[in-house]
Amino acid sequence: MRIELVRRAEHSRLMVWASPLLAVAITLVIAVGIFAAMGADPLEALYIFFVEPLTAGWSLQELVVKAIPITLIAIGLSLCYMSNTWNIGAEGQFTAGAILGSLFPIVFPGWTGPLVLPAMLLFGILGGMLYAAIPALLKIRFGANEILTSLMLVYVAQLLLDWIVRGPWRNPDGYGFPESRVFDASAQMPLLVDGGRMHIGLVFVFVAVLVVWFTMGRTLTGFQIRVLGQAPRAGAFAGFSQNRMVLFTFLVSGGLAGLAGIMEVAGPIGQLRPSISPGYGFTAIIVAFLGRLHPVGILIAGFVLALTYLGGEAAQVALGMSDKVMRVFQGLLLFLVLACDTLIYYRVRLVRPVADPLGGAVHGRG
């Protein structure tokens, strides 16, 4: 008996949706094996990892707080990737948005009131867009590879943040430690529920999901993105401009990343610090693909990934399990999603060995 992959004439619509579920299922099966090998009760461990974070109000709020930046960035990136443009530098645009948006509460701490936060959010978006415009313009004008330029600019942004909180924007009352002053209450994200940390950023995520969904399904822009992504030549014949699309998708994804950045520092962090993100901009790339570049899929994927972070932490506390386990799960999940994607384009067929005249089984032609 041997297993053959047969290319499908057309990709399987069923598998487009079933393959992520299959990947999750296989991850869970392997998880049970890992837990058992580590001497923990697999069912208890699974419960703590994947269910317990969903059973208490505060940890549900924390789940949302964790998912907001990842999801928001991923939604912007999905537009890029669908149009075959590769913005890898969302982490840098996130940082740029956080820096520019923090201008008001740090440089003008005396200005308080209801207008501060909207101004900050606006500047956050602007910061992300401006920063994303650099690789876009370099590509349009000089044909520079946007994967490299956008990625390299991440490090520039991080070093800029590092310098600015150690130098000009250092808290004057902070004993020289590298942190900005803590933002005034009017410069912080309003909470959705008192006593927790879930903030109105969640609303922005839902708005982004709806707008992108509508754009992709119902507008000419969405159609252009698809055509230029899948058949650039056809797009060119239709008179769609590849260059304009590069700029557009970079500006949108940069703006959303910048918004996520300023919401993060005006929300759960409350000040600028040398490091404000454990790599959300990169995690978002994974989430975008995990969610099939579809806004609703990304929303779900963002929450699933956030859940693995919270579950990993809960398992450390409750079971004394290393945080490496959580990382193994994340890696497994991504690997399996990509592996299961094979099933979208290929069918699995079992072939019985045919006895050959010499008596041995026929092997692959390899």
Binding site: G176, R197, R273, V317
Partner: protein
């Protein structure tokens, strides 16, 4: 048969109930770590302290740790999780956890918090740190005795007061032996980056330095010293295994005694908020066995350590001159702790411009 089962179930339930009651009497102590618990440096020393706490207080405590917690939004959640899962004493072991610790502490007034290396306190939040600079003064003296070129190299992490303080203490120690001693500094802008730390060590040796020390956590610089036949000092833990011929001694972070004292205070109901900055005398800072050193240098180092311990010697006793030669504090006076904790200037003799 059924009755037997019921009885067994009852016994089991009773047993579990008792177990739960006993568990409640235990003090649950939680730790938040910035790195992996076996990082070979900062975090590992906190984890050793945690293990010493368990060993010392046995059944009376139960400890938990969460490792690799980034200093962003995640810190607050990790700390809150410990507070919500019955931990009554929580140690947060990195500077960036300062504000998250205070935020969670405000929500859980009956939980005691201890934040390492920060400066903000609350009725249920203490801070603690160690006077590593006492150790650095001693190794500065050793460096000045052993160096043939009259200059040492210092691999520094970030230009924050604690690190600047360490650089100054090292050089003041060295100048107490050789007033013309010079110090070169390389900033690697990381607490742990073996590649950059190794490059920094190579650069320093290439510039004619023959002894190095560091305020970063990896053993890489000492390994370079070993390769080049040069010498240096370990950081955070005894790194003699990495550099048996190069290490003179190492400044060891020793948190165990403090953790035991504070947990005992919670058990006794005598815990109060405060700011602890312990050095040799409190057992916070320990020097690894002196190796690769002649007897007279060992004797000098031991004497200096004893003098600092007894209070006879203060590394920051005047006269102390700033880098530009102006006198900061005259003879007969000492720089107070508050000034030391905010130190953002070099003493005379540092061959570097302090990043501002």
């Amino acid at each position: 048969m059924r009755r037997l089962m019921t009885a067994a179930a009852a016994v089991l339930a009773l047993g579990m109930g008792l177990g739960a009651a006993a568990a409640q009497d235990k003090l649950k102590v939680g730790f938040i770590y910035i790195g992996p618990k076996n990082d070979g440096g900062w975090t590992q020393r906190h984890d050793v302290g945690r293990q010493e706490l368990e060993a010392a207080l046995g059944d009376k405590v139960e400890t938990t740790y969460v490792e690799n917690v980034p200093e962003g939004q995640d810190a607050e959640r990790a700390i809150e999780r410990l507070a919500r899962t019955g931990h009554k004493l929580i140690f947060t072991t990195s500077f960036g956890y300062m504000d998250p610790t205070l935020k969670v502490a405000a929500k859980f007034p009956d939980v005691k918090f201890e934040h390492a290396t920060g400066y903000k306190t609350a009725p249920n939040v203490s801070t603690y740190n160690s006077k590593f600079h006492e150790g650095r003064y001693v190794i500065g003296q050793i460096a000045a005795k052993m160096s043939k070129t009259g200059q040492a190299g210092y691999i520094a992490s970030f230009p924050i007061p604690e690190v600047v303080l360490g650089i100054n203490a090292f050089l003041l120690g060295a100048q107490s032996v050789n007033p013309d001693f010079k110090l070169k500094v390389v900033w690697v802008n990381s607490w742990f980056d073996p590649g950059k730390e190794a490059d920094a060590a190579k650069t320093l040796f290439d510039q004619g330095v023959d002894v190095i020390t560091q305020h970063t956590d990896s053993p890489a610089p000492l390994q370079i010293a070993e390769e080049r036949g040069m010498h240096g000092f370990g950081q955070a833990s005894d790194q003699i295994a990495f550099a048996p011929k190069a290490q003179y001694t190492s400044i060891i972070d020793n948190w165990g005694p403090y953790y035991i004292r504070r947990a005992q205070a919670v058990l006794d109901g005598t815990w109060t908020s405060g700011q602890v900055w312990g050095g040799f005398a409190d057992g916070h800072v320990v020097l690894a066995p002196f190796t690769n050193l002649p007897d007279d240098v060992v004797k000098m180092a031991e004497e200096t350590e004893a003098k600092i311990k007894s209070g006879e010697l203060n590394p920051f006793a005047g006269p102390i001159y700033k880098q530009d030669g102006t006198e900061f504090i005259p003879a007969g006076k000492v720089i107070d702790d508050g000034t030391l904790l905010g130190m953002n200037w070099y003493v005379k003799g540092v061959d570097d411009k302090l990043p501002q």
